[in-house]
Symmetry: C2
Subunit: 325 residues, 2 copies
């Protein structure tokens, strides 16, 4: 790990000159050449740590997501990465596992490592962004917007999507439409359930009956468990709206095991099924613009990093309904 001083000594110049060579300041051609030669000979790599300490900022942005095994978040990550890389930033992914403790730890790291900015899909409802905001660290919320904090956010219209998906089941004539959604403290989960409720009650929430509503964990096994539970009811549902793709895989597995796959049971899913579409079964899918969420969030963040100081914005992307199978 050679330092700038050793390079300077080898090239017969001062450290300042070496620094200038690497940062494109005015240096005479001969010295620049000498420095470059010395640097190459020593395999010199400037210390990012020292640079970051001095400059009080780095070219790394943190992307904090709750579940790295969820294809939605990985697609989102790809979007973020593409934009960030094009702008010369590196992205580090932090997986919180829906755990507030881990989330806090990563946010703390982002702060104390003076990262350029943070894009966060919050675990649960109320993440503590106060530390970041107090230090004026640029933050963009994506998919889920934390309560009570005023930051840029990029989301989709979960309620409308849930409503539209469920509506297709209503129109197909199903009578007992269940809903499997995510944790009750996650905004996107409750909003999608609200959309389901809108559709099954025909817009008369007074008639809401949450008999068929299950809060699971947005994971495959959780979806399977909830589906089993629903099917074990005295009067099992004849259709189900599942609020994300991982849970739908679990739910479909259970339906498959019990021989009740569509079209016997109506199924509508919020989120893409990247691996599923092989089976020729009729399903309604609410397409999530995951990658675009990431792209948009990254662009917003870069604007903030660039010094944009306008009031916080919320961007709501559309999702699209398709039927497969």
């Amino acid at each position: 790990m050679p330092t700038i001083y050793e390079v300077a000594a080898a090239a017969g110049v001062s450290p300042a000159t070496v620094s200038r060579v690497f940062n494109g300041a005015n240096v005479s051609p001969e010295k620049a050449e000498a420095v470059r030669k010395a640097a190459k000979a020593l395999a010199f790599t400037p210390s990012r740590t020292a640079r970051t300490l001095r400059l009080q900022s780095s070219e790394v942005i943190a992307l904090v997501i709750p579940d790295i095994e969820n294809p939605f978040f990985t697609a989102l990550a790809r979007g973020v990465e593409d934009v960030a890389h094009a702008a010369g930033y590196s992205v580090v992914l932090c997986n919180t596992d829906e755990d507030h403790e881990k989330e806090l730890r990563y946010l703390d790291i982002a702060l104390s490592a003076t990262m350029a900015g943070v894009i966060i899909a919050a675990a649960g409802g109320d993440s503590d962004l106060s530390g970041l905001l107090a230090r004026r660290c640029p933050v963009v919320a994506v998919d889920r917007s934390p309560h009570g904090v005023d930051v840029d956010a990029v989301t989709v219209d979960n309620r409308a999507g849930g409503r539209a998906a469920t509506q297709t089941l209503v129109e197909q004539g199903f009578q007992r439409i269940a809903c499997i959604t995510g944790p009750s403290d996650v905004e996107t989960a409750t909003q999608r359930a609200d959309g389901w409720r809108d559709a099954v009650t025909g817009g008369r929430p007074a008639e809401a009956d949450d008999h068929y509503l299950r809060f699971a964990d947005f994971r495959g096994d959780g979806g399977a468990a909830a589906m089993s539970e629903l099917l074990a009811l005295p009067e099992p549902p004849d259709a189900v709206f599942v609020a994300n793709s991982l849970m739908s895989a679990g739910a479909l597995r259970v339906l498959s095991e019990q021989g009740r796959l569509p079209p016997a049971t109506g199924v509508a899913v919020f989120g893409d099924l990247p691996f599923l579409p092989l089976a020729p079964i009729p399903i309604t899918v609410v397409h999530m613009p995951a990658r675009h969420l990431g792209i948009t969030a990254a662009k917003l963040l870069l604007e903030r990093i660039g010094g944009d100081d306008q009031p916080a914005r919320t961007i709501v992307l559309r999702n699209q309904l398709t039927r497969v199978g």
Copy 2:
């Protein structure tokens, strides 16, 4: 962003004492209390950057993977994270997108940010780990082991797995067994194809006929394209061994579209199908211990970080054959 100096001033002590309080050295109870109070009042967070610069090491390990959208790598990541977190380390994920340029960039960052260590699933065959090794930065290769460098590695027996999977197709009486594998410059891809060749030629490689062999990209669309190509042959295959799960999703989609799903066509897959198992179709699956690969790699890395200096080891995990559907 208050510094240790401000805390020291507020508490009426020297910066050294503040540091000692946070690092558990001997400090009188009164001063310790005063420091803690001042730190809380100022919302002081020690700068990781400064700390890292001074200590020449951090508690972050980098996990470099080629495709974050591949469930295999995300499961692996979970394994790494679990072990690392338990040991007090944070994990940052770096997605190289099978791109040597990006990979190099991340390795460079890991080095110049003096991270504690690196776990890498190399993009392509010959990643340049020389920089890391020259600086004695602990490195563990996982899934794929780079050529010509002597580092700890954790892999599975790809050839045996490919052979066993293909063998089940042979035993089912299929005559024309194709193979869809990954890029030809990726070790795991060629090894799995070797296993396929072993099985179809009955161990007489002289009779190898790569007519039915396709190199794709380990992604869904690539698998679909390869499958279409194979089916368009004058004499299409009656079975296929697919070398990873993402490609198998694409391949199955094509088979589904053409009404040739199993059991009409024989299918064997290397890698788990986390989302697929809903459909009651008979498939052979080579189970990959993805999470355990991660766990094992992380443990090895932690040993190295702890100063273990023994010669490099290679650990080969078993994979398990199952039939679903």
